[in-house]
């Protein structure tokens, strides 16, 4: 393996490929696009959480000025209107009934957005309201009606092997376990037990959901969308319209944030149906308020017990997790699987029993949220590590070190062994945080960690085009959502082909041009697409080397690879020169390709373990209960950082997003109504929430299966931050909090209760 100091382009913080467009206003997002002859759609949404639709009268709306057409669930003849990559339970628009407040009931298509908006008020819908099922306990209780009265077919891209559903309103059940938990608990020295709650959160990608769909005269459909997973969108849309895959072209322009909320299919089938009905290109852009009603994160109630023996060794963990999945499955079956896996943490635990349920309710559908179940379960898991350390009379850091899996050690039977140095990571975090420095009153510190089975299912295909003038194009179906993957992929190609970075162009996600990539999520792009690009470059080089035998008139063994080309004796030719000499014509290019699948060293799941390590020092204002961050430290255990500055940027961004759920963010329902679904009322981290001291470090042990030993990052730090704050609060005050977010009100009340107990 090339030593770390010898990279020319990789492992350097080169300028971002999308930098100039993004600082000059030149970057065109889907929300900025306008097509010739384009119409606009607006959506009428359900005011009821659970109701039958008795009738919809659109006649008055249709006769409004500039209105082209109206689409309802009654218009979908000839389509397969239910979609979903995991469970095909989601109608593209309500059919006969509604299942949450905000569900699309009708779409007006008009010449202008304003005309569409105004016509919504002219649609008359008659509902028969039914009793809404709003929480998981009601949903699972005996005698509660089913939210979905029929069983649905599996989607094709579940990505794992669990069967969907179980009974009643359970959308997905996952059971993970080994050893004998009951016996271990019976003989344990210390048992921590508690019920924790992680809130319902909203990712707030700043560009709300937006798509343009265009059925052309030949019946081909083009969709432009702010989508993380264009190939999943293609699959779902092709199924809805019964089209072959090459008749659906999904193009992803610049995306204004995702964080999981734009993974899988969202509004695209509805917009495509509008175009199909109206015979025009149609654009639908949601407001942020509508985006709140489109997807959220699963809130989680976790009942958990963790036990040690008298020497402080973990002996058992048992947990029951209930995820409030909302009205449709979306990606919650996967969240359910991941939450079950990830609650084990990065520890060596001989007896484990986890039961995880994703439960349908009449609320906004939940789906992927950065960390995919990790944040929901790391909060209880890491909180309990501190509780147990105290019971066992250990320092929390030493207690973790004693129980953490070492590199190469297995934490889940049958899964890939740990490919990271987690003990080293948390030691380093503790050092950066100055854990031994005396604390001032009202301050507390903690270091927490997590390990997530990341990378999703490894099917990743890539192409590079090598031109006879020295240019190289990378064709990648992995989307640039801001994480910098388009820069990273060009770095890898430039490094391998030995050309300057400026010569490499990235051709981004366009399902008609770029090869299949399952998804852009689970922190997989650097590892999988990065490796595919590297292998595609090597394959192109192998082809050019065969051509070179003819060009040099020399056998293979006389040709020596030298950066950017081949040497044969005294003669050196670049790849480009060899191509031109071979074809005897300018302007030619060849294609190198790589097809990664679950085989070889990618057979074992996960593709890599994504490590989250953060440390915080909090400062508590005891009078108000307000927590602020004095210090934040992050460790990115990423194997090799292809782009160090952007890798650290992922850690800080993920930690900050986790901070939001830890301190402020929570969607609140009052009955069937979401009460705070707007940015006026939903509080996300601001400039003033930035920690006073931030220290970030990258650990580069080159222990991943990605290019040059790289592994993914970007979701790790979101997981351990909230327990880190809760543990630091405990160390500052002696108050243990098991419900997030730790708003000033919640913390203040907890402090008062503690004072009351002390008086008594």
């Amino acid at each position: 393996m090339k030593p770390i100091g010898e990279f020319q382009i990789v492992n350097h913080s080169v300028p971002r490929g999308d930098g100039i467009p993004k600082v000059t206003g030149g970057a065109i997002y889907t929300s900025d696009m306008v097509l010739e002859h384009m119409a606009w759609a607006k959506i009428l949404r359900s005011p009821f959480a659970r109701a039958k639709i008795l009738s919809i009268d659109v006649s008055q709306a249709k006769s409004q000025p500039d209105v082209i057409d109206v689409l309802t669930g009654g218009d979908l003849h000839g389509l397969h209107p239910y979609y979903g990559h995991g469970v095909k339970d989601h109608p593209l628009i309500a059919i006969g009934q509604v299942r949450f407040v905000g569900e699309p009931v009708a779409a007006v298509i008009a010449e202008t957005e304003l005309a569409a908006q105004e016509a919504l008020g002219k649609i008359a819908v008659e509902y028969q309201e039914m009793k809404a099922i709003l929480d998981v306990d009601t949903a699972m209780a005996e005698g509660t009606p089913r939210i979905h009265e029929t069983d649905f077919a599996d989607g094709s891209f579940r990505g794992f092997d669990d069967f969907p559903g179980a009974a009643g309103n359970i959308c997905q059940a996952v059971h993970v376990g080994w050893g004998d938990v009951d016996a271990a608990l019976a003989s344990a020295a210390h048992i921590a037990e508690g019920e924790f709650y992680f809130p319902m959160v909203y990712a707030y990608a700043m560009e709300p959901y937006v798509a343009i769909a265009d059925f052309d005269a030949k019946g081909h459909l083009t969709v432009y969308s702010s989508a993380q997973h264009p190939f999943m969108v293609r699959h779902d849309v092709a199924h809805v319209f019964g089209l072959p895959l090459n008749s659906v072209r999904v193009i992803v322009p610049y995306i204004g944030g995702g964080y999981g909320s734009k993974s899988y299919t969202k509004i695209e089938p509805l917009v495509a149906a509008c175009s199909w009905k109206a015979g025009r290109p149609v654009k639908l852009r949601l407001s942020v308020e509508e985006a709140f009603l489109t997807t959220r994160g699963d809130d989680a109630r976790v009942r958990i017990r963790t036990a040690t023996d008298s020497n402080g060794n973990l002996v058992a963990r048992q947990a029951t997790i209930h995820l409030n999945t909302g009205a449709y499955a979306e990606n919650s079956p996967m969240v359910c699987r991941k939450a079950a896996n990830r609650i084990v943490g990065p520890y060596r635990i001989p007896n484990v029993k986890i039961d995880c349920f994703a439960v349908y309710t009449n609320t906004v559908p939940a789906s992927s949220y950065r960390g995919l179940g990790g944040a929901q379960v790391t909060f209880p898991g890491e909180s309990q590590m501190d509780e147990l350390a105290e019971m066992a009379g250990c320092d929390p850091l030493q207690f973790r070190l004693k129980n953490l899996a070492q590199s190469g050690e297995s934490i889940h039977p049958g899964m890939r062994p740990i490919d990271a140095d987690i003990p080293g990571d948390i030691r380093e975090a503790a050092r950066m945080l100055n854990m031994d420095r005396p604390l001032v009153p009202g301050h507390g510190r903690s270091v927490c960690c997590s390990a997530s089975d990341a990378g999703a299912h490894p099917v990743t295909l890539a192409m590079v085009q090598v031109y006879a003038d020295g240019a190289v194009s990378v064709l990648s179906g992995s989307t640039e959502i801001g994480q910098g993957s388009h820069t990273v992929l060009t770095q890898i190609a430039a490094e391998e082909m030995g050309v300057p970075l400026e010569k490499v162009r990235l051709i981004g996600s366009d399902t008609a041009v770029t090869l299949f990539e399952r998804s852009t999520g689970a922190s997989r792009t650097t590892t999988l697409m990065g490796r595919a690009v590297l292998e595609a470059c090597r394959e192109a080089i192998a082809q050019i080397t065969v051509m070179a035998e003819e060009v040099f008139a020399a056998p293979r063994e006389k040709l020596v690879e030298e950066r950017g080309g081949l040497r044969c004796g005294q003669t050196y030719m670049t790849w480009a020169q060899i191509l031109e000499a071979y074809f005897k014509m300018e302007g030619c290019s060849i294609v190198g390709r790589a097809y990664l699948r679950k085989a070889g060293d990618l057979t074992l799941i996960p593709v890599f373990w994504e490590i989250g390590v953060v440390g915080v020092e909090i400062a508590l204002d005891e009078e108000t209960g307000k927590i602020s961050l004095d210090s934040l430290v992050t460790i990115g255990d990423v194997g090799l950082a292809i782009h160090p500055a952007m890798t650290e940027g992922q850690d800080l961004g993920a930690a900050t997003m986790g901070l939001g759920a830890g301190l402020f963010e929570e969607l609140i329902y009052d009955g069937q109504q979401l009460m705070n679904g707007s940015m006026l009322e939903y509080r996300v981290p601001r400039f003033s929430d930035l920690a006073s001291h931030v220290d970030m470090k990258l650990v580069q042990n080159r222990d991943g299966v990605g290019p040059y030993g790289a592994k993914g990052g970007g979701e790790g730090a979101v997981n351990p931050i909230s327990p880190c704050i809760a543990n630091a609060l405990y160390r500052a005050t002696g108050v243990r909090t098991r419900t997030l977010p730790l708003t000033p009100e919640r913390v203040w009340k907890a402090l008062q209760e503690k004072k009351k107990r002390q008086v008594l």
């Binding site: 000059t24 206003g25 700043m206 940015m679």
Partner: protein
Amino acid sequence: MQIGFELNGKQQTLEFEPRETLAEVLRGRCRLTGVKISCEAQVCGSCTVLVDGLPVSACTLLAYEVRGKRVTTIEGVADETGRLHPLQQAFLDNFSFQCGFCTPGMILAAKSLLDENSKATDAEIVAHMNGNLCRCTGYLPILKAIRQAAAEMRGQK
């Protein structure tokens, strides 16, 4: 209605409806799509433009309010030769954006501060920028960029 104002250094006379917001006019009629729309409630700052040098939320300002005034959008921040403003360069140098959706508003909000006070302290920068949200970066890279640009702008004076 027909209104005259200065847009990115050029006098304009535009015809639009009285109900149109400045963001709608700039994005829809002038195709200046660097003005980004997100919260539509003056919370997020992504639609920030400068009116007579001061930051305003274009999403909620009726366009006729800018009659006779000077409007600057992100498209008008680099100089006529295309040379980037120190803030734009500093945002590039410090990787102060990821998805880039908040970036035009961030740069314009920061510009209004530094044009007034290129010696702004960190506390002043944070207070001034607190009405601009970024969901990607965690803010520190933006703070670093503003510090860097401030130093350069002080040097230019």
